[in-house]
């Protein structure tokens, strides 16, 4: 049992975890970098401690400092969120060594799933289908890989053993281009994970990315909460997720769920985790990897199952049995999540920094917004560009899409560019509405540049024409405002006298 939880993270997920803790009566401790003194997780926590300067490696990645703070403030549990230290087995181990509950899996499970080649091997032996690829565990030289490649066949993927987030991943179409790609993949992996090892996997074309949420307690109970469809991606970054998947039928859903439970059991899994699969056009599915932590997109599962995954994580970490049995888990309606990022969809999705001057959140029935920012908060270049997650629920998938459209239409964020227009265009796309998409859809068959809409162009022209003189005259107005504001002038006069 524990009473005070240190949340070793920032942004929306720190706030999400803090809320769950507060709602079950646990005290909360936030940690923050110098850039985050005014962040929402600091404002809302019971306690908050400075970690260090803004860069992650000097703050949110400082495992030593975090443990030191936990011990000083007598936090008896740590929730790592996602990213940062969430999948570092050494950090999980250090928590245990310090007598602090790590709200997540055992270090050995993190290790087993963290090395992507070991993971493939482990689950394959447990009878879980994997994508064909390199099968030997161990460091493979470029020569080894170039020899194996033709046996796997092209196209194939080079993937980083320490993997995740598409870093160090390269698509290879022929043997000729492979040496160069191997080199750049290793370099990227080395810089991202400090580990340049890579392996090969057959490229499954036209595949969908579908994952299964797992919950496992300390009493041997392992259940799954069905799937999330995450094929809407750009550069291996998920942008939209939905549950249930429009592609699965009840039979495949059940089969994938059972296999996911098997994979989790293969590494003696504890707490919440996610098994990612690729599903090809013929409904064959292959294990991709396991994320041994809470996922960004967990809320859509919460909305269709009614199960609060973070509260379940806390229960499990306290050694209590799961509240739910497999047969209690039902899917009710449909949920969808759009990741709202500070990036400009009209300019190559370039990240956008700046102060959020004004924002208007969509609210009302069936809408949930998870965010760590607020009007007045500054989006800095130090951390990922996600501003918020817009999550909706509907009785059917069609109703969820309609609700998402209305929520996106309502959402206003001023001060940074956002990808809201991307999501709006996507929600209007016939292929998306039809559920006909795979992981390449956004990059290959989707464009935010719509056909001309002459009526909207005319409206836009009126807007521009009316705004132009206002903005151009603003400086002149400034003088006029000063003219009227006598209190201002009084001060200015005094200042002038002082400096004459």
């Amino acid at each position: 049992m524990f009473n005070k939880v240190l949340i070793a993270n920032r942004g929306e997920i720190a706030v999400r975890i803090l809320r769950a803790c507060r709602e079950v009566g646990l005290e909360t401790v936030a940690v923050f970098s110098e850039a985050d003194r005014q962040a929402l997780h600091v404002r809302l926590a019971d306690e908050a401690y400075l970690l260090g300067p803004a860069p992650s490696r000097e703050s949110y990645l400082r495992a030593d400092k975090i443990l030191e703070i936990a011990q000083q403030c007598k936090a008896d549990a740590i929730h790592p969120g996602y990213g940062f230290l969430a999948e570092r087995e050494d950090f999980a181990q250090a928590c245990l060594d310090a007598g602090i509950v790590f709200i997540g899996p055992k270090p050995s499970s993190i290790a087993a799933m963290g090395d992507k080649m070991t993971a493939r091997d482990t689950v394959r032996k447990a009878g879980v289908p994997v994508v064909p690829g390199t099968e030997d565990v161990g460091d493979l030289s470029d020569a080894d890989l170039l020899a194996i490649a033709p046996k796997i066949g092209f196209p194939l993927l080079i993937k980083a053993t320490a993997g995740g987030g598409g870093k160090g991943m390269r698509e290879v179409r022929s043997l000729e281009e492979m040496p160069g790609l191997l080199q750049s993949a290793r370099r990227e992996a080395e810089s991202a994970f400090g580990d340049g090892n890579v392996y090969l996997e057959k490229l499954v074309e036209g595949a969908r990315h579908i994952e299964i949420q797992i919950l496992a307690d300390a009493h041997g109970n392992v259940i799954h909460l069905n799937e999330r469809e995450c094929s809407i991606q750009r550069r291996h970054q998920k942008l939209v997720e939905e549950a249930p998947s429009p592609f699965l039928d009840e039979e495949l859903r059940q089969k994938m769920g059972e296999v996911a439970v098997k994979a989790a059991k293969a590494v003696d899994y504890l707490n919440a985790g996610t098994i990612e699969f690729l599903v090809d056009k013929d409904r064959n599915f292959y294990f991709l990897e396991m994320n041994t932590r809470l996922q960004v997109e967990h809320p859509i599962t919460e909305m269709v199952t009614g199960i609060d995954i973070v509260k379940e994580q806390l229960r499990i970490a306290r050694g209590r049995p799961l509240q739910y049995k497999q047969e209690d888990v039902k899917i009710n309606g449909a949920a969808m999540e759009c990741r709202i990022n500070a990036e400009d969809p009209y300019n190559g999705f370039m990240p956008s920094t700046g102060k959020i001057n004004h924002s208007l959140l969509p609210t009302g029935p069936g809408v949930r917004v998870d965010t760590g920012v607020y009007p007045g908060f500054e989006i800095t270049p130090y951390y990922d560009p996600m501003i918020s997650k817009l999550i909706v629920w509907g009785e059917t998938r069609a109703q969820a899409i309609l609700r998402m459209r209305r929520a996106l239409e309502e959402y206003r964020i001023v001060g940074v560019r956002t990808n809201i227009p991307f999501h709006q265009t996507l929600m209007d796309s016939h292929r998306f509405m039809g559920g006909q998409y795979d992981t390449r859809f956004v990059e290959e068959r989707f464009s935010i540049q719509e056909e001309n809409n002459p009526q909207q162009q005319e409206i836009a022209a009126v807007f521009a024409t009316l705004v132009a003189p206002i903005q151009t005259a603003r400086a002149a107005q400034f003088v006029q405002r000063n003219e009227r504001d006598t209190s201002n002038w009084k001060w200015v006069g005094r200042w002038e006298r002082m400096h004459r």
């Binding site: 190559g348 990240p351 206003r412 162009q457 836009a460 009126v462 024409t465 903005q471």
Partner: protein, 164 residues
């Protein structure tokens, strides 16, 4: 005041008649126009239809983000439009200065000074917000004056290199 407002290849003649009326391509419309809350968010009722848009200045143009679509608009009176026509005819292209859109770390510069590049070619990779961002050439040209090197941290708006 009468303006010629261009969006893509279309031109709209927009005449502001008074506070409550504009004439667009000869048709008079009732408008109720308002800035919301001191922000670049504007509410416009045109003959009762309610629209809201973000309008940002962008060099000589205006970006209008309306119902999930972005429009690039140029607002000119007749004299300005004539003038521009002359200038554009006279000059040809000009230099492009690549600036850092945000603070970040220069990851790599896949081009060299003197190299010929084509529109859309990657000039530089800038890491920011945990992402590697490709900065591309907006036009064909020759790379000149690379002012930064890989590993260097740059401020937002810093000039990185030039394509002439």
């Amino acid at each position: 005041m009468k303006y010629i407002t261009s969006i893509a290849d279309k031109e709209f003649s927009v005449e502001v008649l008074d506070e409550k009326h504009v004439r667009v391509n000869g048709q008079t419309l009732a408008v109720d126009f308002m800035e919301i809350n001191g922000q670049p968010v504007y509410s416009l009722l045109i003959d009762g239809k309610s629209y809201e848009a973000y309008v940002y200045p962008d060099e000589n143009d205006w970006q209008v983000l309306l119902h999930g679509s972005l429009y690039q608009a140029r607002v000119e009176d007749e004299r300005e439009k004539r003038l521009r026509g002359n200038t554009e005819a006279a000059s040809g292209g000009g230099e492009f200065h690549l600036k850092a859109p945000m603070p970040g770390l220069i990851v790599s510069i896949p081009v060299a000074e003197g190299q010929t590049v084509q529109k859309g070619e990657v000039l530089l990779i800038l890491e920011s917000m945990k992402m590697q961002n490709e900065l591309k050439a907006p036009k064909d040209g020759v790379v000149q004056r690379i002012r930064v090197q890989p590993g260097q941290t740059v401020e937002g708006k810093a000039t990185l290199l030039c394509v002439a």
